[in-house]
């Protein structure tokens, strides 16, 4: 059985159970090539688990995942990555003991030949303005800078689909604006899914928003529709009796 030919990413009845708790509980999700989709929802809604299921960091308890039309449900992390899925996890997930340049190189090296990899690294350094700390160990950088390095690593791989889990967390206002601009620019060539909490940020970048709640998809609509939806507001304000 194949996925929807329109969708670059699709899940059917995706479910993940941790010791009796359904972290992701039957999610049907369809993403079209070229989209920039935002995922929102309160803490514990299952967004990060959803990302980890797609990228093979966790194995689904039930359901299917399709990428580019073929099934990847039981693929290991590196196999999913090779098909062209890049992810930035919620916590900075970088090589702390290596320099910024080495971090980027490890990412670029996979997809390019020797000269191409070096060129790609330089491009990313320029684009993200990382020039000031290419030789510093990433473990010594500030939180926001490490986020940038990680985004740079994802970019250097040139994936078809990028999953970003709270890319603007721990950043100042100016950095957030830069991140938003960067995502819009990346979106010209790449499909992107972003998990975010910052509504200003979401309004700035998103077209369609998917709302997660208790492991399920609660709403999926244009950003202004979703943000004015009383049920969604209830969920965010902490009133949990959703009907």
């Amino acid at each position: 059985m194949n996925g929807d030919p329109k969708g670059i990413l699709q899940t059917r009845g995706l479910r993940k159970t941790f010791g009796g708790v359904h972290a992701v509980d039957g999610v049907d999700f369809l993403l079209t090539e070229g989209e920039l989709r935002c995922l929102i929802g309160p803490n514990g809604a299952g967004k990060s688990t959803f990302f980890k299921l797609i990228t093979g960091q966790l194995m689904p308890s039930d359901g299917q995942i399709f990428f580019g039309g073929s099934e990847v449900t039981t693929h290991a992390s590196h196999e999913v990555a090779r098909l062209g899925v890049g992810i930035k996890n919620q916590k900075p997930d970088v090589f702390d003991g290596l320099s910024t340049r080495e971090n980027l190189w490890l990412a670029a090296q996979f997809a390019h030949d020797k000269a191409g990899a070096i060129e790609q690294v330089e491009q990313v350094i320029d684009r993200l303005q990382l020039g000031a700390f290419v030789h510093r160990l990433v473990g010594e950088l500030a939180h926001g800078q490490r986020q940038w390095v990680e985004i740079g690593m994802v970019m250097a791989r040139e994936p078809r689909l990028i999953l970003l889990d709270e890319p603007s967390a721990g950043m100042g206002q100016e950095e957030r604006l830069r991140t938003a601009e960067l995502l819009k620019e990346l979106n010209r060539t790449t499909t992107i899914v972003v998990v975010e909490h910052d509504m200003q940020f979401i309004k700035r970048i998103a077209d369609v928003v998917t709302v997660f709640h208790r492991g399920r998809v609660l709403r999926e609509a244009k950003v202004d529709v979703v943000l004015n939806d009383p049920e969604v507001r209830d969920v965010y304000l902490g009133r949990t009796e959703v009907t």
């Binding site: 990228t55 992390s77 590196h78 997930d93 290596l98």
Partner: protein, 348 residues
Amino acid sequence: MGWLFSDFRRPAGERPGPVWWSFVVVATAVLLSLPLTLDLAQLLDLSVVFVLALLALSMSFLWGYVGILSFGQTAFFGLGGYVYAVAAMNWGDTTLPFLLGIAIPLAFAALLGVFMVYGKISDIYFSVMTLVITLILNRAMRATSGDQYVIGDVRLNGQNGIPGVPPLQVPWDSSVTLFIDHVYYLSVVLAVLVYVGLRLLLTTPFGRILVGIRENERRIELLGYDARRYKFAAFALSGGIAGLSGTMFAIWGNFVAPEMFGLGQAAEVIIWVIVGGKSTLIGPIVGTGVIQYLTSWLGTQGVGQVTLVLGAILIVFVLLFKDGLVPTLGAAIARVFAGRRESGGGGQ
């Protein structure tokens, strides 16, 4: 003068600079000229340092750069020695046994790697399981004292070991065998080659990915690399180097015994690497030399139990000097120079 040290302090992934290369050339030249001034007994003592330094390098490569602590190195070391001894005594020729002494431990490491790396057991279980395997091999080899334990014409002799292991012959003329000073030259050249080879390996894509695995295995996987393949290859390579060390040990001493597999041997390797410092490749070589001389000095002083002292050294280094001698001294020297001049080198 800080530039003198900067070559040793740059990140492993970058190519070593001219200072490092000059150091290698000068050190090699000095070591190769030592036979002019030393007598044969001293050369014999010094040879074994470089033979065992190979073993230390095989461990510190795996531990310091890939992040896997394998106690199996002594198993591969012992296996290499026994393979060379048994094959050379059966066949008379030594070239093929020398190569087998590297190839069979490498294959054995690969076999274990299939089970342990692809079994996805955690790093710490990896350490413990390699230790268990070493112990069992040691016990098995000790139990081969009976007449029935014969490979070809060679009795394994249990815990008495196999004496009379033939010296290495020149590959093109089996009537020419290596004498003590030749063994010294060979050990120095092999140690330098393996040191330089591993250092350069770290600048290749393969080497950088290994370091990436040490730093963050999940991120390596998310970038699309199959981390298991790289760990497997690194483990097999280090098994081959340990096998080379064991083969050279058998050639050096004309003797193999189950102690080569023993826990005592395994502990000594760990101590060399820890004392020298596992975050560099030169550290373990220094550590091997220092501890070898310390133990033989303790032996002549009649202080009794050398293991007692080694045990205490191990505890003290783990608790107080985790980085080892070379990095600790390096950092101290760097601090002194940084105090004089403002230009501190980046990296570590």
